[in-house]
Symmetry: C2
Subunit: 230 residues, 2 copies
């Protein structure tokens, strides 16, 4: 586990969940100076922002910004609209927890910050589990975003190639956890649950909880998630 000693800046989208902490650990291992970016978008699971702060501190990132977004003004998702319930069983098609254009919006901000800190690398933890349901997690979307980024930014115009890194894109939840454990990630620190309580304790029944629990189970390692009493 060598560090290469470059300290090129990179923007890391950090939700405070299992995937993004693994991505941060990977980028750090690759020697990037990590600029962590989180969003307060009126999501119900605000405990994940506390997790993002703890994680950013733990990994001694170069900077951590939490951008306040008015996504609830737009609504249209169980995560941003209190009138839509978070489902507790699997659903067909694009789930109601899909936040319209969320990754486009998140990556757009990452791009803006990248321009300011002169980073040409952006990391996002999209993966095989996500893109079964969310269109903005698919490899072809990421590729199209990267093409657009290279046309729409000062850096791109000046000939620097902007790269959107998706190191988890081909991995299952169990494989992500395995990689993270190899890197020394402490998953007790992370919050994945769509309905976590104020202490960050998980419900155990939402999509995010079920995928996460299955990941630990498939890997055969102990699940460090803090669940709330039933």
């Amino acid at each position: 586990m060598e560090n290469n000693s470059s300290s090129r800046p990179a923007i890391i989208l950090l939700s405070g969940g299992l995937d993004s902490i693994t991505v941060l650990a990977l980028a750090k291992q690759q020697g990037f100076a990590c600029y962590a970016l989180s969003f307060d978008y009126g999501q119900r699971h605000n405990a994940e922002l506390d997790a993002s702060r703890r994680i950013a501190r733990h990994y001694q990132v170069a900077d951590h910004k939490i951008i306040n977004l008015g996504l609830s003004a737009i609504g249209g998702s169980a995560l941003t609209d209190a009138r839509i319930d978070v489902p507790t069983s699997p659903q067909a098609g694009i789930p109601v927890t899909y936040v319209p254009a969320r990754n486009t919006i998140f990556l757009a901000f990452a791009l803006g910050w990248a321009e300011v800190v002169k980073a040409h690398d952006v990391f996002i933890g999209v993966n095989a589990v996500d893109y079964s349901g969310y269109p903005d997690c698919r490899p072809e979307f990421i590729k199209a975003f990267q093409d657009m980024a290279n046309l729409g930014t000062k850096a791109g115009v000046e000939g620097h190639k902007i790269q959107i890194h998706t190191p988890l894109i081909a991995l299952s939840k169990a494989e992500i956890i395995q990689k993270g454990l190899e890197l020394g990630v402490d998953y007790a620190d992370t919050v994945s649950c769509y309905s976590a309580d104020i202490k960050g304790r998980a419900c155990g029944v939402c999509d995010a909880c079920r995928l996460r629990a299955a990941g630990f189970q498939n890997l055969g390692v102990a699940d460090p998630t803090h669940y709330r009493p039933k």
Copy 2:
């Protein structure tokens, strides 16, 4: 000047300036039900948001949202960072008034709202004057954004073609004004100045003011801009 009677919804990016009011008037003329979208991004020229409210009311849009963005957290532009002065004479290259990834961010939000109101059309007032300086106003950027939008959204995945309309893209400022006047646009209602005062009165010397004034002058019509006393 016929209306076609479709009332398909469209998202219109409405800054409150000369270009975006013209775009709104055009979309309205084409029979779209217009959803106007503005942003409070810590820009110095907040008077433009007041203008956007007046314009939205005047054109009886279906809805008008002003999204609060934390762009000043990112900085990097004379428009969002108080430590960078707004220039009062022309500059070479990409100007310091360029806001990193601004149109990517604005269009990303437009896309999110489009998904919620089931719109497949988004209008933005980028034009030939802008894209001399701003990379995210160029036709090839818009095309790349549209491709990305069709891969990263529920609508795109379900086979609806999302279209980013740029009706001003080939027009000079004078041509835009001419088109707007034909549509009955009242440009006195708009604010373009990067340093407008609280009453929306223009400085007359910033890039935006100079381009606007030259537009009226080239067209040979009276400039209705409210300038503040020198």
